[in-house]
């Protein structure tokens, strides 16, 4: 066990690390400036449990209706040996629909990594679909197994990751938030698939940076395929994974004895978390299980009201300071003159207008 691994195990309090999946790996790319999140995710701490333990449970429930619908749509798209899927993907890519294609289900067995590697790096050129491949990615020095319920399609000699999602594409448009979440998740698979090919001595560029998103069309159950360019997501992802590989730099700033052991006393945990800086923004509420704690902690900070609020207030960090500068009770520090003048002018104009309307 390396020093780092040892330190991370200590942070977890000896519990096994939480397993990552494509969703959690994708979530790492949000708020990359947050040290607390990088350390906790790097250590594989069970953040939902941790949040619950310290009294700030996360609210990331999933409706069973959504799960049922997702599974049903996926099963429907893959039915019949993937013939319909192959046609959709080929038509979207603009290549002739192959008369036949092999369908390899890589799910289920114990030797999945081995079978996935053999199947995907084999020299075949013909059209092929690979269902449930098992891919791997190194996150913070640990091997993460990704078990996508997606298909990798090999058409015209290139691989395309196919992501099946059950949100609708209505008149060619889908919910942008859902599309961007799908894009970053697919990028995780593209990255893992490229690494797999490279490890097998093949050209990683065989995996296209365009992924095929298959969604229900309009209000029907009929699938429609769209292309997503995930080059930007790949860059973001790689940068964040590199950063997590350099966890030792980050850990150097973390005080010795820092613990996120979910069995520890809540007061101890709260105190320990306070020693590792977070960078809370309202967007965290949608993506990080610890967000409610960080929000509570960031109470009174301008950034907790949104980054644009902080910018509009001249970058001053504390609400108290903003108000004191605005009333002139506090003399601005060097470099704050401009912000202070702006705040004073704003406060005067606001008071003027309010007084005029009430008087």
């Amino acid at each position: 066990m390396t020093d780092i691994a040892h330190r991370l195990a200590e942070i977890r309090g000896g519990l096994p690390p939480r397993r990552h999946n494509a969703r959690t790996v994708a979530a790492l790319t949000g708020n990359p400036g947050c040290t607390r999140r990088a350390v906790l995710d790097g250590a594989g701490v069970d953040k939902p449990k941790l949040a619950e333990r310290i009294g700030f449970p996360a609210r990331f429930g999933q409706s069973r209706f959504a799960i049922t619908r997702g599974n049903a749509f996926e099963a429907q798209v893959k039915a019949g040996g993937g013939a319909e899927l192959l046609r959709l993907v080929a038509e979207r890519l603009g290549v002739p629909v192959p008369a036949t294609a092999s369908w390899t289900d890589l799910g289920g067995d114990a030797d999945r990594p081995e079978r996935s590697r053999t199947a995907l790096t084999a020299a075949g050129e013909g059209a092929a679909l690979f269902d449930h491949p098992l891919l791997g990615l190194d996150v913070a020095g640990r091997r993460v197994h990704l078990e996508p319920d997606l298909v990798a399609a090999r058409l015209a000699g290139r691989f395309h990751v196919v992501e099946i999602k059950s949100f609708p594409v209505i008149d060619g448009q889908a919910d942008p938030a859902k599309v961007s979440a799908a894009a970053i998740q697919s990028a995780v698979y593209v990255l893992a698939l490229r690494e797999l090919l490279a490890a097998g001595g093949r050209d990683p560029e065989l995996v296209s940076h365009e992924v095929v998103l298959v969604c229900p069309r309009d209000f029907t159950n009929r699938p429609v395929a769209s292309l997503l360019d995930v080059r930007r997501q790949l860059l973001v992802l790689r940068r964040q994974l590199d950063r997590m590989d350099r966890l030792d730099d980050l850990l150097a700033t973390v005080p010795a004895g820092f613990t996120a052991d979910v069995t520890a006393d809540p007061a101890t945990l709260t105190a320990a978390l306070g020693t590792v800086p977070a960078r809370y923004a309202p967007e965290c509420l949608a993506s990080c299980e610890l967000a409610y704690f960080c929000r509570w902690e960031a109470h009174g900070q301008t950034a907790a009201l949104g980054r644009s609020v902080r910018e509009a207030l001249g970058g001053v960090a504390e609400i108290g300071e903003v108000l004191a500068l605005a009333t002139g009770e506090r003399t601005p520090e060097p470099g704050q003159d401009e912000a202070a003048a702006l705040l004073r002018a704003a406060a005067r104009l606001r008071a003027d207008a309010l007084a005029a309307s009430s008087g």
Partner: protein, 501 residues
């Protein structure tokens, strides 16, 4: 976000209660709005689950879809919703007024009042837009027939959703947006989308603070979400068993009625708190005095309502799925003009909004120290009345000499900057030459020229009429925009390619 608004947020956090960011109401509120609180089923493509709808706080009608995946039931819901919405729309179609057009050479008629739909949040507007999309192409004949009112409802809902895109329109309003237009809370914009939390900040219960009320509003067990998305926990624990019980009671009418009643009660409990909040929010907004230009913008909504009613009456077709190039350009142009004019009108109506422009140097307030109301410029072919005034202000003046300024007090008048003289005492003297708004003669009528001692707000913002841009006809779409449409789409009537399982 403007600094003034951000400061109001900081003050709200410190005070524990939301702070005003407007001194007048910037939207029209109907005396009889139709409030609509929809719920959708998770995972499905805009499948309605339930709705509370009505025009009176004490008489909401509950609509329920016991099996939202069943498309027949979906369209039955649409027909039931149409029973509420269409008569409501028709109730505004009695009295009309004559409006002169073409400089009084012609006259057209418009309805004296128009309908107003209120939903809790922007997601509610999206729900109505998509529900309009899913119903407006349906037909009452052929395969998968629906009730004739369904496509008509779809057209009207699409009309309202498109109006909602237009800045300043009040035909379809998301209450969270209407409230944040007038109050700044001590929470972020993301959190302001949650109607219960937002109202918690604006109007906390006695003895509580906004922050505490908002925190309580975040617990979905005590305070259900304002929709259309439901709480996943509610789905899993209560809704799924209730829907399953209804499905299981398939052949037994008695059991079925019982299961339906249980499901309806469950959904009513989820919707009722939001229904109450909607009317509370409306009450708060009604307490504000309307801005001077609000009625003018409502005229635009009345025009649009009249126009669309005239389109629908003779059996006009549904709105197309996508705009063509020309139609898209026209729409964008219209929205941009509306946005610009809306921003100016709000500033003219409300000194607190104008303060945002004063902070950025687009406006200043000063006192008139000299006035020459009789000055006549006779350097041209014929003499014209061009009074000059001098305004002294303590605010920074960023406008250059030669710029045209306007004053909300006399919107028809232009004030050209002639001299800007910064004084040593931090004050700035600005000399302005006035034109317009003073009649046709060489003597200015009383009150048309600011007098010495008057406090005057001058701004670069102008509410003057902007002529509409010229666009080619659809069949003359330039090649840069794809050329003329290949087949003149037959008004996108019906959608035969859409399959309904």
């Amino acid at each position: 976000m403007s600094t003034l608004r951000a400061l109001a947020k900081a003050q709200a956090l410190a005070a524990g209660v939301a702070q005003p960011v407007a001194t007048v109401r910037h939207l029209h509120l109907s005396e009889r709005p139709l409030v609509l609180v929809p719920l959708a089923m998770a995972g499905e493509a805009n499948a309605p689950l339930a709705a509370l709808v009505g025009t009176a706080p004490d008489r909401p009608r509950l609509l329920v879809v016991p099996q939202p995946r069943n498309r027949d039931q979906r369209y039955r819901f649409a027909a039931e919703l149409a029973e509420e919405v269409l008569p409501y729309l028709d109730s505004f179609r009695d009295a009309t007024e004559a409006v002169p057009v073409d400089r009084g050479r012609d006259v057209r008629h418009r309805y004296l009042d128009a309908p107003q739909l209120l939903v809790p949040n922007p997601a509610g507007i999206t729900f109505l837009r998509l529900f309009g999309r899913s119903t407006r192409f349906r037909r009452s004949d052929g395969e998968y027939p629906v009730h004739p009112s369904v496509p008509l409802l779809g057209r009207w809902l699409t009309f309202f959703a498109e109006r909602a895109e237009q800045p300043g329109s009040a035909a379809l309003v998301a209450l969270t947006e209407a409230l944040t237009l007038h109050w700044a809370t001590g929470q972020s914009a993301v959190e302001d989308l949650h109607l219960p939390a937002l109202l918690g900040w604006i109007d906390p219960p006695p003895g509580s603070t906004g922050a505490a009320a908002a925190a309580r509003a975040e617990d979905p067990t005590g305070c259900p979400p304002a929709g259309p998305a439901t709480d996943p926990d509610f789905d899993n624990r209560h809704l799924a068993p209730a829907i399953a019980a209804y499905a299981a009671a398939a052949d037994d009418p008695e059991a079925r009625a019982g299961a339906y009643a249980e499901l309806a009660a469950l959904l009513r409990d989820q919707l009722a708190p939001t229904w109450e909040l909607m009317w509370r929010g409306v009450g708060l907004l009604r307490a504000l005095p309307p801005g001077a230009r609000v009625a003018g913008r409502w005229d635009g909504d009345r025009d649009a309502f009249t126009g669309y009613a005239e389109h629908v009456d003779p059996g006009g077709g549904p709105q197309p799925r996508r705009d063509g190039a020309v139609a898209a350009a026209v729409r964008l142009h219209r929205l941009e003009r509306a946005a610009a004019s809306y921003a100016v009108q709000r500033a003219y109506d409300d000194p607190l909004v104008m303060a945002e422009h004063r902070l950025t140097g687009e406006a200043f307030v000063g006192e008139v120290t000299l006035a020459d109301p009789t000055r006549v410029d006779d350097s041209g072919k014929r003499p014209v009345l061009r009074p000059r005034i001098q305004v002294v202000t303590t605010e920074p003046v960023l406008v250059p000499v030669g710029a045209s300024l306007h004053s909300p007090a006399r919107p028809g008048q232009k004030a050209k900057v002639v001299f800007v003289t910064p004084g040593a005492d931090g004050k700035t003297e600005v000399v302005l030459e006035l034109s317009g708004g003073m009649g046709r003669g060489l003597t200015a009528p009383q009150g048309s020229v600011p007098e010495v001692g008057e406090r005057l707000c001058l701004t670069t913002l102008s509410d003057a009429f902007l002529p509409a841009g010229a666009f080619p006809a659809a069949e003359e779409t330039p090649w840069t925009h794809g050329g003329p449409p290949v087949t003149a789409v037959p008004a996108a009537d019906g959608d035969p390619a859409e399959e309904w399982s």
